[in-house]
């Protein structure tokens, strides 16, 4: 196995130290041992929980929500980005409004969304879509605007129509920017996901935490927290994988600047 590629030693050490500390605390009682259960205990409790099917249900419903919200938010953002980069009037009208509502933290909108749309799936997906929408729009728009003019000129001189310029030059040229926006929005929309599941949901990773709190099952709370971390890592690496596939042509950065 390639140890440099899978750098798991630090995380392993983290859990070992945690385990040791919890065990010592179990006898020494610096504080209530229930507050910080050992990882091995979490593992066995988590296994019990998994057998009830709750973990799979939570992961599946959280993943569906975030993917749905992410895709909807991205599509709307790219669509509006297209319109705004194409028509100056659209940009004149939309950008002040976006500057006004863009900085509002999505979480501040959540109670309002619940009052408007209830506690079903719709307000949660909408919230995630909204948190995806703003960064993706900003970055994609920047991508459209920074397409080198010589690329557009050469496409025109090669006989491309305006439409072909758009689909074959502008869009692919903005893909790296779109991916940066997606990376930024993933963090934001993930926290929106968890919080919206903590406020009026019947399933999901955020719901697991609330459920555990209600029954004072600290182990379950820890299991949920760890799963949230894992889910985020999974989504983030999925996005990185997509990025590596899509922008193979991109060179640069420190890694390409010098050999080590």
């Amino acid at each position: 196995m390639n140890w440099h590629k899978y750098n798991i030693l630090p995380s392993l050490l983290f859990f070992v130290v945690w385990e040791l500390f919890s065990r010592v605390n179990g006898t020494a009682k610096f504080f209530n041992p229930n507050f910080l259960p050992a990882p091995t205990l979490l593992l066995s409790e988590g296994w019990e929980l998994a057998k009830t099917g709750m973990i799979t249900d939570s992961i599946v419903s959280s993943t569906i929500r975030i993917l749905l919200g992410f895709v909807i938010g991205s599509i709307v953002a790219v669509g509006l980005g297209v319109v705004m980069s194409k028509f100056r009037t659209a940009e004149r009208w939309f950008s002040p409004i976006l500057n006004l509502v863009g900085p509002i933290p999505a979480l501040a909108l959540l109670p309002l969304f619940i009052i408007w749309f209830g506690i079903g799936e719709f307000p949660k997906v909408l919230l995630i879509a909204w948190t995806t929408f703003i960064p993706v729009l900003v970055y994609t728009l920047d991508g459209f605007k920074s397409v080198p003019s010589t690329l557009i000129r050469s496409a025109l001189s090669l006989g491309a129509s305006e439409r072909q310029i758009f689909t074959r030059v502008m869009l692919p040229s903005a893909v790296p920017n779109f991916l940066v926006g997606a990376q930024v929005s993933l963090g934001l929309s993930f926290s929106a996901l968890i919080v919206s599941e903590m406020m009026g949901a019947q399933s999901g990773l955020g719901y697991m935490i609330v459920d555990a709190r209600n029954y004072f099952k600290i182990t379950n709370m820890f299991v949920a927290i760890i799963l949230i971390g894992l889910e985020y890592s999974f989504l983030s690496s999925l996005l990185k994988l997509v990025e590596r596939r899509v922008v193979v042509w991109r060179k640069g950065g420190l890694r390409d600047a010098i050999e080590k």
């Binding site: 010589t150 050469s154 496409a155 001189s157 090669l158 006989g159 692919p172 042509w249």
Partner: protein
């Protein structure tokens, strides 16, 4: 094909870039536009390409006014302007493809032109993986693959090192002797112009100062009869008053 530039003028704001430019280009001619930076040569080329529109006068191809960019006027840029997300082959087949040529046929055409510039081995590479000279060869192949009536080249070798420049010059000359295209080539290198051109158009301060017929048989070298003489004749036109103009400016300071 006949390109006619008649009494063309262009200003950006209060700055006059070009005034009263007259030029006629016939089929299979290789014309170099030579001048200092800022003399308006690139602006003229951009107007012929259709990226910019003249303020005065007219630019016509076979009697029809140039109203915008067209596939009949191909362009090679100094920064090569290759699409970085496409492979070398896809870059070259872009022109034929957007002009509705069937995909397989477009790829075949692209391969042909890739062979012409001697880069068959790099078909599936991305532009980022190529050297400057190779990128520019791909740029030339891409422009040629859409079969333009006239090829416009805006200081295509300007960003290359001296050695690569020399080889590119020879290669371009070879391509020309094979395909006989019509080329309008902007440069600030006198030797490059004398090496390549049938006619050298010397521009100064937004006007055509003089047009030289080179008339040396191809392939030329700097040792060809008349090469050095032609260079010094051009240099005299290009350089003279500049010294005179600098002097009062300095005195003014």
């Amino acid at each position: 094909m006949k390109l006619e530039v008649r009494q063309v003028g262009k200003s950006f704001g209060s700055r006059t870039i070009l005034k009263h430019v007259d030029l006629t280009v016939h089929s299979h001619e290789f014309i170099c536009i030579l001048g200092h930076s800022g003399c308006g040569k690139s602006t003229l080329l951009n107007m012929i390409a259709g990226y910019l529109l003249p303020d005065d006068g007219s630019i016509t191809v076979d009697g029809e006014a140039v109203k915008g960019p067209s596939k009949s006027r191909g362009m090679v840029f100094q920064d090569h302007a290759l699409f970085p997300w496409m492979t070398v082959l896809d870059n070259i087949s872009f022109g034929p493809e957007v002009q509705k040529m069937p995909k397989a046929q477009a790829k075949e055409t692209a391969k042909e032109f890739l062979k012409l510039v001697g880069l068959e081995a790099y078909a599936s590479h991305y532009p980022g993986e190529l050297s400057g000279g190779m990128k520019q060869r791909v740029g030339i192949a891409r422009a040629l693959a859409s079969r333009p009536d006239i090829l416009l080249m805006d200081e295509p070798f300007g960003a290359l090192d001296v050695l690569t420049r020399e080889t590119m010059r020879v290669e371009l000359q070879k391509i020309c002797s094979r395909l006989k295209p019509t080329i309008l080539f902007v440069t600030h290198s006198i030797s490059e112009a004398v090496y390549l051109a049938d006619r050298v158009v010397v521009m100064k301060h937004g006007e055509i100062a003089r047009i030289f017929e080179v008339g040396i048989k191809h392939p030329r070298t700097s040792q060809s009869a008349g090469f050095g003489e032609m260079m010094s004749r051009i240099e005299r036109v290009l350089m003279d008053e500049d010294h005179l103009e600098l002097a009062p400016a300095k005195a003014g300071l």
